[in-house]
């Protein structure tokens, strides 16, 4: 399996200042205390955060593999021939039909 780079794109403890982190914590705090016996909101918050975690992890893994394996697109003719070890012919005098 391709190894992932640092799991935090924001380095170090700065992730605590990111929007998403604060929002998620805020949501959990709001749903912490409830008068109900079975708290649906807490389960929903947990489910949503689990799904978000899945989104973040799978996007990161997908990008890691993409960078390794995905084709880089079309280069121009010189580069392409260079890749397979050939050189383009050169004719210093021009090909004859050029003006």
């Amino acid at each position: 399996m391709a190894s992932l780079s640092s799991p935090l794109s924001i380095k170090g403890p700065e992730y605590k200042h990111s929007l998403a982190y604060n929002y998620v914590l805020d949501q959990f705090r709001k749903k912490q205390i409830t008068g109900e016996r079975c708290c649906l909101a807490q389960e929903e918050a947990l489910y949503a955060s689990h799904s978000y975690l899945c989104l973040l992890i799978s996007t990161r893994q997908h990008m890691a593999l993409y960078d390794i394996y995905h084709g880089k697109g079309q280069h121009d003719t010189e580069e392409m021939s260079g890749i397979v070890g050939l050189r383009l012919p050169t004719q210093p005098g021009g090909k004859g039909w050029e003006k």
Partner: protein
């Protein structure tokens, strides 16, 4: 203002726009005019430092890249109906490094589709398209051999099928014939009515999830929080996983597909949750 910036950075002659999702899952392609060959814009240089969200008109949220407001590919101002969605989109833009990779920004893409509606679809058209997947639903399409795969399908897919039949009081059934299961009209009507209760944004997300998983049953199970995203993806790819277990895993094909499917499905599921739920906080004082 974003458009002026685009003209200023006109080195490639491309117009800056992240993609939208067309119904059959094709990426919305933008052709460049000035470059040597036609190219599909998938990446762009990052041109901002900070991402933040702000309240806009009518309780909608906007995304700010440095001092400029984000716009949809259709030119409209990007507005999200609630904070959770706005933060998810802002986070996607924030995690981009030197190059902006639009194909990794699934939440942004979904919001753009819902806002622009580039193919001018109505709710009814989306519901019809979504329900069409039921006739060839992955869960209902069974094989007859090899026996270990048949057993796996029965063990994994039957519980979900039973759950949805109980939950929605419908009859679906599974079939091994090439034509797929016979879905009675009453079932279609029940689902149609249920889908009609979702708003346009949620329907966009729901149709996206159905298209990704190739199954209406799995999409409903996911949206109703009966199964997790990883489980839904696993069930959708059950035969592939079976073959991988038998023949081996190819990282550059199987893993790439798996993670891409997971990220898209997770984005779709989150999109539906954020668009369809609304929460209020009622503060009660403790009586001493």
């Amino acid at each position: 203002m974003l458009r002026n910036l685009v003209r200023f950075h006109n080195c490639l002659g491309h117009a800056f726009s992240p993609p939208t999702v067309c119904p059959r899952g094709q990426m919305f392609k933008l052709l460049s005019v000035n470059s040597k060959s036609y190219s599909i814009i998938t990446e762009r240089k990052k041109f901002y430092e900070d991402v933040s969200i702000s309240h806009g008109e009518g309780g909608m949220f906007e995304i700010n890249l440095d001092r400029r407001k984000l716009k949809t590919p259709g030119g409209k101002l990007f507005t999200a109906p609630n904070e959770a969605l706005a933060i998810a989109v802002a986070n996607e833009w924030d995690t981009q490094k030197d190059m902006l990779k639009f194909y990794s920004m699934h939440m942004t893409t979904l919001c753009n589709t819902a806002l622009d509606n580039p193919t001018f679809r109505s709710k009814d058209q989306m519901i019809t398209a979504a329900l069409k997947y039921l006739e060839t639903d992955t869960i209902c399409y069974r094989v007859e051999e090899p026996p270990s795969l048949v057993e796996l399908q029965n063990n994994e897919w039957d519980p979900v099928l039973n759950w949805i039949e109980d939950r929605y009081n419908v009859v679906i059934g599974s079939s091994t014939s090439i034509l797929g299961p016979e879905i009675p009209q009453a079932t279609m009507d029940t689902f149609r009515q249920h889908l009609g209760s979702y708003n346009f944004w949620s329907l966009t997300g729901l149709e996206y999830v159905i298209t990704q998983l190739k199954s209406v049953v799995l999409a409903f199970a996911l949206i109703d929080k009966h199964i997790t995203v990883e489980q839904a993806v696993l069930l959708s790819r059950l035969e592939e996983e079976f073959q991988i277990g038998h023949w081996g895993n190819v990282e550059w094909a199987h893993d790439v597909d798996l993670y891409e499917l997971r990220s898209r499905t997770a984005a779709g599921a989150l999109f539906v949750h954020f668009s369809s739920e609304s929460s209020t906080v009622k503060r009660k004082l403790m009586q001493d």
